[in-house]
Symmetry: C2
Subunit: 135 residues, 2 copies
């Protein structure tokens, strides 16, 4: 049986990176590990680790990405939660068997080598859930 092993990150969509960093980094005092352009996702991402988890601030850099459309429609705020799983392929099979709607039916691989898939909010009670398999 595949197992959820950790909360990896909570992603927050932001419309003003400097203003968001003024809160998360400067006011709360969480260390900014990296601020990186992610062209594949048409966004700029700030990584703020907290113990084993992370807050990720995601700012769209174009108007045509999924996250840009989300921002235009819903405004800034929490976007998704990412959970770590020990075996993603088995987990996706288990979810499909329980009629959970997936955004990615098969695992995808990010530019930095992470294996991931998203679950559709329709099946989760309105929460966009990402699953990561690390290493």
């Amino acid at each position: 049986m595949p197992r959820i092993t950790a909360v990896n990150h909570v992603a927050v969509v932001v419309d003003d990176m400097e203003k968001s960093l003024a809160f998360w980094r400067d006011a709360l005092g969480i260390q900014l590990q990296e601020l990186r352009d992610v062209p594949a996702e048409k966004s700029r991402v700030a990584f703020l680790p907290i113990a084993g988890a992370e807050v990720e601030l995601v700012m769209p850099t174009t108007d045509d990405s999924g996250i840009a459309k989300y921002l235009a429609k819903r405004g800034p705020g929490m976007h998704h939660i990412c959970l770590e799983v020990d075996h993603l392929v088995s987990m996706l099979a288990q979810l499909k068997a329980k009629n959970i709607r997936l955004i990615n039916d098969e695992p995808r691989t990010s530019a930095d080598g992470k294996i991931y898939a998203f679950i559709h909010p329709e099946s989760t009670g309105g929460v966009l859930v990402e699953l990561y398999q690390l290493a």
Copy 2:
């Protein structure tokens, strides 16, 4: 300097507890630690621990609470993120000094003895942030 030490939980507002548990517990396989009525918050809460963090599913049990109004307005989905802090009073002072708007200017104590305060989403980029000081 006060320090953020962990992600304690992500709270999800739900309109149908059984349907939500069918996803988080039955499909993802996360163990349900407890399903508890919290009269002080006019809600029923499911606690699903994941390593050191937790997903909390919160279902309003009346129509007049803050979370019931949130659900009516925005629909089910992520509601807030709770971060642990080593010294809440110092953190609230630091936030006030940086003109961050707080929902609770002073720490509050929950029925089970946790010391907490909420930060207003206006100052965080649309994210409701709770701070916990444990023990």
